[in-house]
């Protein structure tokens, strides 16, 4: 059997999404607070702390610069944690996937359900930070509302990348490599905390292929009340990563679980 044949998608992913939503709903309040606390500390701590030491960054106060980065960063983290640790628990530890596959749900439906769920949760995190930023007056215009579909798209991208790791992981320890070798460097190279233009040319070239930097390039203008330049290019890159990573994750999951 060809494990890497194209995904076959159907609406049967929805009960899987619903299952995860039902679990989340039970712990929604602590979960939202947890999702908010970490990026808020980053945003406010760095924004006001370092911000007071800095002149304007890119023509705006540092905290206003940082807000868009924090939304993308928070979205990425939320999608990544859900697609790595939570999905791995369901696949490997609790055998929830095994139970679902005994029902008339295919692995394609199941992995799509996990992807959609992780993206939904990530979008919620991103939206929560957006709300806080707006409340603090860090958002210039209603154009920033376009970052809601953006965080869902970015959620899909980072969830799909995370699912690739999950399908490969022998144990939770494996995920440390993903963070130290990919997520952390990407965060530093993608213009979340400082403009990419500050980096040496080689790093800037690397930055241009990282999905997080495309998310930031869309979110930042939106926050500052501008229409992003080359918006479709950035959207296409994020979507391209999402599709390719989902396909790969599904192929790896088929090879792992259906052999």
């Amino acid at each position: 059997m060809n494990y890497f044949r194209p995904p076959s998608l159907s609406l049967r992913f929805f009960p899987v999404w619903q299952r995860n939503f039902l679990v989340w709903r039970k712990l929604a309040i602590p979960s939202i607070l947890g999702n908010l606390a970490d990026p808020m500390i980053y945003m406010l701590g760095l924004g006001y702390g370092i911000g007071t030491l800095l002149p304007e960054v890119g023509g705006v106060p540092y905290i206003a610069f940082l807000a868009a980065g924090a939304v993308c960063f928070s979205t990425m983290n939320s999608a990544t944690f859900e697609a790595l640790y939570s999905a791995f628990s369901r696949m490997q530890v609790q055998k929830t996937w095994e139970a679902i596959l005994n029902a008339p749900v295919s692995l394609d439906d199941l992995v799509l359900g996990e992807l959609a769920w992780a993206a939904s949760k990530a979008a919620l995190s991103g939206a929560a930070i957006l709300g806080v930023a707006a409340a603090l007056g860090l958002v210039a215009s209603p154009l920033a509302l376009w970052s809601l579909p953006l965080v869902f798209l970015a959620g899909l991208t980072f969830a799909a990348l995370g699912l690739v790791m999950t399908a490969l992981a022998p144990s939770y320890d494996f995920f440390m490599y993903y963070f130290t070798l990919f997520v952390t460097p990407m965060t530093l190279l993608s213009g979340v905390f400082f403009p990419v233009e500050q980096l040496p040319a080689a790093f800037q070239a690397l930055s241009a292929v990282l999905p997080l930097s495309h998310a930031v390039k869309l979110a930042r203008p939106l926050f500052l009340g501008e229409v992003p330049a080359q918006a479709w290019l950035h959207i296409a890159v994020l979507a391209g990563y999402a599709v390719a990573a989902f396909w790969l994750a599904l192929g790896l999951a088929r090879r792992r679980l259906l052999k």
Binding site: M1, R12, P15, V16, Q18, R19, L22, V23, K26, Q94, K95, T96, E98, A99, I100, L101, N102, A103, P104, V105, S106, L258, K259
Partner: protein, 344 residues
């Protein structure tokens, strides 16, 4: 009603041939047992039948549909109790059923109506809101059975449903399976408990290393593969009397025909009064003249025979040996066919 048929199933993992040409079919309404030691390929057979793994060769039809091509649809009419419990630990008992019903496209309202009845059937009526980790092993198994029934399946697959359960819990599961059979459901059961198979299965196949080595009704399999009676002979430990005699040796000889094969009435007798002889030594020296076949494991000699009277008479006069006379059962067949070596 379409059930499951499997023909020429082959599957290898690397160099290990796990299934080597397996053929069988379930008749509607029957309980069919797949028996075999650990590693025989029982679970792999079920996984192939459900389309969860691709066999290297063979044809499978489940619920009238070809597998694996249309396995997902075929599973709509099947209920599954997996070997390892995989209830959802994040949910209560009732939520487990609700969420599982959704995977079958069941409507929320219908599910809410069905759940109390399913819990009742599983003997969990008061436990709707219990967390999974507060349930005992037997309760989890029963909840898993209830979950397998959410879609009111025609066909049930149960992979070692009673492994690890205490006798009470086992009997309750058996009772429920009998009820389901009485409702007309078809059951495919894997087990390595022979008493379970003898009790529940209309037909069974004993498999080893991915092949059937016997198939038929429990009675047919016993009749075809083994002598009807067994006398187990043990050495008297330390030569000391082991409690009051149960039925004299003479009485035993009169009733040399063991009782109904499904209700064995073991008899003990032939207690010695001091002189020591190991059952193994006795078997080596003397058993062959009485029994068709003798197997010795450790300190027990298993004598398989058609006519037990001469052996019982002989044993009654022996000192230092105890024995148990019983009808041959499926376990004897199983051990004869698959050997007494450990399988891990």
């Amino acid at each position: 009603m379409d059930t499951l048929s499997v023909e020429g199933l082959r599957k290898s993992y690397g160099a290990t041939a796990v299934l080597q040409g397996l053929t069988f079919a379930l008749r509607p309404g029957e309980c069919y047992g797949l028996l075999g030691p650990n590693g025989a390929g029982k679970t792999t057979t079920l996984r192939c039948a459900l389309g969860l793994t691709q066999p290297d060769a063979g044809t499978i039809r489940l619920s009238g549909l070809p597998v694996p091509e249309r396995a997902r649809e075929a599973r709509l009419r099947v209920g599954i109790v997996p070997q390892m419990d995989n209830l959802d630990p994040d949910f209560t008992a009732a939520e487990n059923l609700l969420v599982y019903g959704r995977y079958f496209g069941m409507k929320e309202r219908d599910m809410r109506e069905r759940i109390p009845r399913l819990l009742e059937f599983a003997g969990l009526a008061g436990r709707a809101d219990a967390k999974i980790n507060t349930l005992s092993g037997g309760m989890k198994r029963r909840l898993t059975l209830a979950r397998a029934l959410v879609n009111d399946p025609d066909l049930l697959f149960l992979d070692e449903p009673t492994t690890g359960l205490d006798p009470q819990a086992r009997h309750l599961i058996w009772e429920r399976l009998k009820q389901l059979l009485a409702q007309g459901k078809t059951v495919l059961l894997t087990t390595h408990f022979m008493d379970e198979a003898e009790r529940l299965c209309h037909r069974l196949g004993i498999m080893d290393r991915g092949r059937f080595i016997a198939e038929g009704s429990p009675r047919e399999v016993i009749a075809a593969h083994i002598e009807p009676e067994v006398v187990e002979v043990y050495g008297e430990p330390g030569g000391a009397p082991a409690g009051p005699p149960q039925g004299g040796a003479a009485k035993d000889m009169e009733q040399a025909q063991p009782a109904n094969e499904h209700h064995p009435l073991p008899r003990e007798g032939g207690r010695g009064d001091g002189s020591l002889m190991s059952a193994a030594d006795w078997a080596k020296a003397e058993a062959a003249q009485f029994a068709t076949r003798v197997e010795v494991t450790g300190e027990t000699a298993f004598c398989y025979l058609t006519e037990s009277r001469p052996l019982l008479r002989h044993l009654a006069g022996r000192q230092g040996l105890r024995y148990l006379h019983r009808p041959a059962n499926l376990e004897d067949v199983f051990l004869k066919l698959t050997g007494r070596d450990l399988r891990d």
